[in-house]
């Protein structure tokens, strides 16, 4: 009963399926199948077992002759031996038979497969008509794909719509998430600007400090100028004092010589008698000692010398008077002439003293 119910893969269907599987013509498939059966038969006739990979082994099994009894007459008969053809499937095929985990769809349950089979039939018909399968392959390949595309496009559209919706939902979240990032970026930025500002500040500070020090130095210079001048003057005076000590000895020796000469002159004047009376009336100053002896320079002036020693320019006449032997004209003094500075008394230095005034007028009147 089961055999009658069981569907059969007929020879034509097998040929058709083979042609579809290998992409060949049904004619070629038929030639191959006929050759296969012929070779199997020949091999079995030679009593050879035939092993086909991933299918099984065909083998002849000899059945020995056996004795039996005729049922109708009761006679003993011998049944002749014969060769029984058996098929032993490979284990992989056996397992695939009982592998119910992945039941395969039949053409009735798989519409796409049915359409594919129909397309293959069309290909076979066209191939029999003389067209190459490559030419007919393109439209036939499309025909089974069109229903697939129609079936697949809808979920794709729905999936894309879902994705778009998800993106539209997620975008505002990203924007919201990005917004707080911006202030962070802004917070991060200020340190960079502050570094620049710090550099500018340091530059300004350096400039200001430099200006401050310059101004401080200028102020200190002006503040200390008078003190420095005074200090320099004191130094000069000290230096001059040391020179004076050295020169005073020379001056004293000269004075001694002069005094001796004065004594000689005085003796001579006493010999001459009354001619020096008028001079005594003019009050000739007497120089007891000398402060120092200076050498006359190009820019030296007797008035400035008097100002330096006594603070009064008009007292130059005493210097001239003390150096009459060396100076013929106080306005024309040779450079390098040694000038003796006399030590004046307080009365001589007093310009209000009538004797001093008279003496100054006398000298000045000589060279006007």
């Amino acid at each position: 009963m089961e055999e009658n119910i069981q569907q059969k893969q007929t020879w034509v269907a097998l040929r058709h399926a083979l042609a579809k599987q290998v992409h060949c013509t049904e004619k070629e498939a038929a030639v191959f199948l006929e050759s296969l059966v012929h070779q199997l038969t020949l091999a079995l006739q030679d009593n050879q077992a035939i092993r086909i990979n991933s299918l099984g082994t065909f083998r002849l099994q000899a059945v020995a002759p056996r004795k039996s009894v005729h049922v109708g007459t009761g006679e003993a008969i011998t049944i002749a031996g014969y060769n029984k053809l058996t098929f032993v499937p490979e284990s992989s095929v056996k397992e695939s038979m009982n592998n119910t985990a992945t039941p395969k769809l039949t053409p009735e349950t798989d519409p796409l497969r049915k359409l594919g089979e129909q397309a293959d039939e069309i290909i076979g018909i066209l191939a029999e008509m003389g067209q190459t399968p490559s030419q007919t392959k393109q439209p036939d390949d499309k025909t089974p794909e069109t229903p697939q595309e129609e079936v697949i496009e809808q979920p794709l559209e729905t999936e894309t719509q879902k994705i778009v919706e998800q993106l539209s939902e997620t975008e505002p979240q990203e924007i919201v998430e990005q917004q707080p990032d911006r202030p962070i970026a802004e917070k991060v930025m200020p340190p960079k600007t502050s570094k620049k500002q710090e550099k500018n500040h340091t530059g300004l500070i350096i400039l200001l400090t430099a200006c401050f020090f310059i101004l401080l130095c200028i102020g200190a210079y002006f503040f200390m100028q008078h003190k420095l001048v005074a200090w320099m003057d004191s130094l000069r005076e000290k230096v001059d004092g040391t020179e004076l000590v050295a020169t005073e000895k020379l001056a004293e020796d000269e004075i001694i010589v002069i005094e001796k000469s004065d004594e000689v002159d005085s003796t001579e004047s006493t010999i001459e008698g009354d001619s020096s009376d008028e001079i005594e009336e003019i009050v000739q100053p007497q120089y007891q000692s000398f402060i120092t002896t200076e050498e006359m320079h190009a820019d030296s002036r007797l008035a400035w010398m008097a100002y330096r020693y006594w603070g009064k320019k008009d007292l130059w006449v005493y210097i001239y008077d003390a150096n009459r032997d060396r100076i013929s004209n106080p306005n024309l003094i040779k450079v390098g002439t040694p000038i003796r500075i006399p030590r004046l008394t307080k009365e001589q230095q007093d310009l209000n003293n009538p004797d001093t005034q008279r003496f100054i007028e006398q000298i000045q009147s000589e060279f006007k």
Partner: protein, 90 residues
């Protein structure tokens, strides 16, 4: 006869290349196996029919231990040769 020898014989008979013959034989076995898995019998003209049979569950006894157990129901592959082939091989 091995598969390789069978391919060589078919190629020699049909004039096909061995590679092409191998492709066709492999495809044939695949088609037969798929058909059997689908529960369909495969009829080979002038040779026979490969078919599947449902084997019911039955009691089996381990001869060594004498333990009795139940074997699961399963489908088995059987081959029924063509009468013509039977006569040829007889």
């Amino acid at each position: 006869m091995t598969t390789k020898e069978l391919i060589a014989q078919i190629a020699k008979e049909t004039g096909m290349t061995k590679r092409r013959t191998e492709e066709l034989l492999t495809a044939t076995t695949e088609v037969i196996a798929e058909s059997l898995q689908d529960g369909k019998a495969v009829q080979l003209q002038n040779f026979g029919t490969l078919e599947t049979k449902q084997r019911a569950a039955r009691k089996i006894t381990n001869p060594k231990t004498g333990e009795v157990s139940m074997s699961q129901a399963k489908r088995v592959i059987g081959f029924r040769p063509n009468e013509r082939l039977k006569d040829i091989l007889r």
